[in-house]
């Protein structure tokens, strides 16, 4: 096993290269080969008919966020501010309130994510000790006509469902 140095050979001095046409025909053989193959079978072309055909979104994909819920539909988040602390872009804004159903002490009364600032790094998901925030919605394109609507709040985050079933999501390594 060894790393060696290789001096690159310089091409271009031979007669056949100098007369130009010979090499050009050789090159044409390559391009025409591609043309021929593509004519015979165009299923292998790298073309995706977006937006009719969506790209593959995998369980690891860091898409738009959502807040998860307990089985009874109540919010899992305990407003511990871990995600907000770990966010490098500082784009999560949480306001905590008292929780009345006895599941924990606090709940978020406000949970906003500024998606224009978000860099989709997944650090919030990594930081959450409750598995309360996830980026498994499969939403990869966040577009809008105004700034306000890319500022998502708690209701929208809770309303979005995950795009994968639990087993598949866990297999992604979460």
């Amino acid at each position: 096993m060894s790393v060696t140095v290789k001096i690159m050979e310089r091409k271009g001095s031979s007669f056949l290269e100098k007369i130009y046409l010979f090499e050009i025909f050789k090159g044409m053989r390559v391009t025409l080969g591609h043309l021929w193959r593509n004519l015979c079978d165009n299923s292998r072309l790298y073309v995706r008919h977006y937006p009719e055909v969506k790209p593959e979104i995998t369980p690891r994909w860091r898409g738009r966020h959502r807040l998860t819920t307990h089985e009874d539909g109540t919010v899992k988040c305990v407003a511990c501010f871990m995600c907000q602390t770990n966010c490098p872009a500082k784009c999560i804004m949480i306001e905590a309130g008292e929780r009345m159903d006895g599941k924990s002490e606090k709940v978020p009364v406000r949970f906003d994510i500024d998606l224009l600032e978000c860099i989709y790094c997944g650090y919030c998901v990594e930081a959450c000790p409750m598995d309360a925030i996830r980026m498994d919605t499969g939403i990869f394109s966040v577009t809008s006509y105004d700034r306000e609507s890319v500022f998502v709040g708690i209701d929208e985050l809770l309303a979005t469902k995950g795009a994968f079933d639990e087993e598949e999501y866990k297999k992604g390594g979460a």
């Binding site: 690159m8 091409k11 290269e17 050009i24 994909w61 602390t85 000790p129 980026m135």
Partner: protein, 571 residues
């Protein structure tokens, strides 16, 4: 650095304090002796530090340990034959009075010192062109000083005409005022960029033309400056990783790896074997991506559009693997200090083999169109030549340096992650022209494929994270269920990974050359200072040497050929 080299250094500089940090030696001198020391290190036959890698400064205003002066200046030098790195540091007592320049020793000091002046406000006496470089010319203050508020944005209202600079360059080239005005030899000024397809980003190339020939050239960069270093000072070590994605965004994962490698080496963490192999596989895969972008775009500039499809199709397809693995196409954020974010997914081997097979096919097809094509030869051979000495002097590294005939590659000369266990070749050019630079990238793609295939055979099973609880987040099951796990998790997230106080430099062979990080730690979980040594910053610093005397069309393909990536250049 070995003991004999250290003894030699101590013998040569009896008055200086010399210490070793990781693999490099740090020589502390007083400002009066700075230039003498630097020139001795460069010219003495025992040392021959022919590469000035980087110049940076540190502002100790908020540093917990008292220092000799508020500012310190650091020159990082490398002897590429013997694999030695030396950092020369000196206290700066009065930044306005300044310190003498090293521009007469290395050309790379020109841009390096300009950056220090721009960011820290330290003057360099005798510098030929001391002005801002990353921040705009109407900027007030020096952003990397600790007392500069991070939120203070400043807007540029007017472009810099750069007339003074281009005229100075013309005068240096021996073009007199009368020639410039003579109707037959009149000089025309032309801007290429900043916003123009040829720049592949935003760089301003101001040329002085005689007909179509470039007589003089000066460049303006900084259009993409986002203040990486300032931002990083306000984040924990792990939080910086997503920012490194945005340096060289064509090979984001490589920056992630280079960054964490630098932190880990200071922490003295030995990462697991599997992680090492993972990092090798992924950095070679991203080296391929980087070269694919470079060659494809470069050949489009040359008029060979077909190549673009053969190369870029495969790059596009590779994003399938990348997004399955990392969860994003471009911004991978895939490493963490002490390991990786996730392990490979099930079935990655088949995907990887499939991709590299297709890449091999695509690159070979493109190579067949290019290698013996006379148009390519005529456009590239003997054009924009960079001689070996000049390339070293300008601080070139990576494929551009190797094209000029310097067989320096960190993977070969300072192997990390078991690189010495692989069988591969480092391609080296002979002339340093466009042709060499282009062909080396082709060859490096094939070599990287070779490394990936070997690494895939050797990669062991095992954990992908060290088990050290000072750096590794506890597994989620413990966080959800156990109080110790939760407490550890809280501590790491809130305080970050703590590093012992000190300063160090660590480097990595990225696709464009040596990607280095200079850190200063105050013992907390946030870097006191991070300085990136971006390979293409210094390559761009030598751009004018390559294009002066060539035609406009050559300058265009030369810019594509050196693979300038704005994110890394301007940070």
């Amino acid at each position: 650095m070995n003991a004999t080299a250290l003894e030699k250094l101590q013998a040569a500089f009896p008055e200086a304090t010399i210490s070793t940090v990781l693999d490099s030696a740090v020589i502390a001198v007083q400002p009066e002796r700075l230039i003498e020391t630097l020139s001795h290190l460069k010219n003495d036959k025992d040392f021959k530090f022919s590469l000035l890698l980087d110049v940076t400064a540190i502002d100790y205003l908020e540093y917990p340990v008292a220092q000799e002066a508020r500012f310190a200046l650091v020159y990082t030098l490398r002897n590429w034959q013997k694999n030695m790195v030396v950092q020369v540091r000196t206290p700066v007592h009065d930044p306005d009075a300044g310190v003498p320049t090293a521009t007469h020793l290395w050309d790379s000091a020109n841009w390096g010192e300009r950056e220090v002046y721009d960011q820290y406000g330290i003057r360099f006496i005798g510098h030929p062109d001391l002005r801002r470089i990353l921040n705009h010319w109407q900027f007030k203050g020096h952003p990397l000083r600790k007392d500069y508020p991070i939120k203070l944005g400043q807007i540029c209202y007017e472009t810099d005409s750069m007339e003074k600079e281009i005229r100075a360059r013309l005068a240096l080239k021996g073009v007199s005022q009368s020639t410039m005005q003579d109707i037959n030899t009149e000089i025309m000024f032309l801007n290429l960029g900043p916003s123009h397809p040829v720049t592949h980003g935003a760089i301003r190339i101001l040329t002085a033309l005689d007909g179509e020939t470039i007589v003089a050239n000066v460049n303006e960069i900084g259009y993409l400056h986002r203040g990486f270093e300032k931002t990083a000072e306000n984040l924990t070590y792990n939080q910086v990783i997503p920012l490194t994605d945005r340096l060289n965004y064509c090979s984001a994962l490589m920056n992630n790896i280079a960054y964490v490698k630098a932190v880990e080496s200071w922490l003295g963490i030995e990462i697991t074997e599997r992680t090492k192999f993972m990092r090798v596989v992924m950095s070679e895969f991203f080296r391929i991506q980087d070269h694919l972008v470079c060659i494809a775009a470069n050949l489009v500039d040359m008029g060979g559009l077909t190549n673009y499809w053969y190369l870029y199709n495969e790059k596009e397809a590779s994003y399938d693997l990348i997004s399955r693995l990392t969860g994003a196409r471009l911004t991978s954020s895939f490493t963490r200090i002490g390991g990786m974010y996730r392990d490979f997914y099930e079935g990655w081997e088949a995907d990887m083999e499939n991709h590299i097979k297709n890449i091999e096919k695509g690159v070979s097809d493109s190579y067949k169109l290019v290698a013996q094509n006379r148009i390519v030869h005529d456009r590239t051979q003997g054009v924009c030549v960079m001689s070996k000495d000049l390339a070293l002097s300008y601080g070139f590294t990576g494929p551009c340096l190797r094209a000029s005939g310097v067989p320096f590659d960190l993977r070969k000369d300072a192997p990390y992650y078991n690189y010495d266990a692989f069988d591969f070749e480092v391609p080296v050019g002979t002339k340093g022209d466009l042709y060499d630079r282009l062909m080396i990238r082709y060859e490096e793609i094939f070599q990287s494929i070779k490394i990936i295939r070997q690494a895939m055979k050797m990669i062991p099973e095992g954990p992908i994270f060290v088990s050290d609880h000072r750096v590794a987040l506890p597994p989620k099951s413990q966080v959800y269920g156990k109080i110790e796990g939760l407490a550890n998790h809280f501590k790491l997230i809130f305080e970050g990974v703590k590093t012992p106080p000190g300063e160090w430099y660590d480097s990595f062979e990225a696709a464009n050359g040596e990607l280095g990080f200079h850190f200063v730690s105050d013992g907390s979980g946030r870097p006191y200072k991070v300085k990136v040594r971006p390979p293409c910053f210094y390559i761009m610093g030598g751009f004018h040497e390559m294009v002066e005397g060539s035609m406009i069309a050559d300058a265009v393909i030369n810019l594509g050929c050196i693979n300038i990536i704005g994110g890394e250049l301007d940070r």
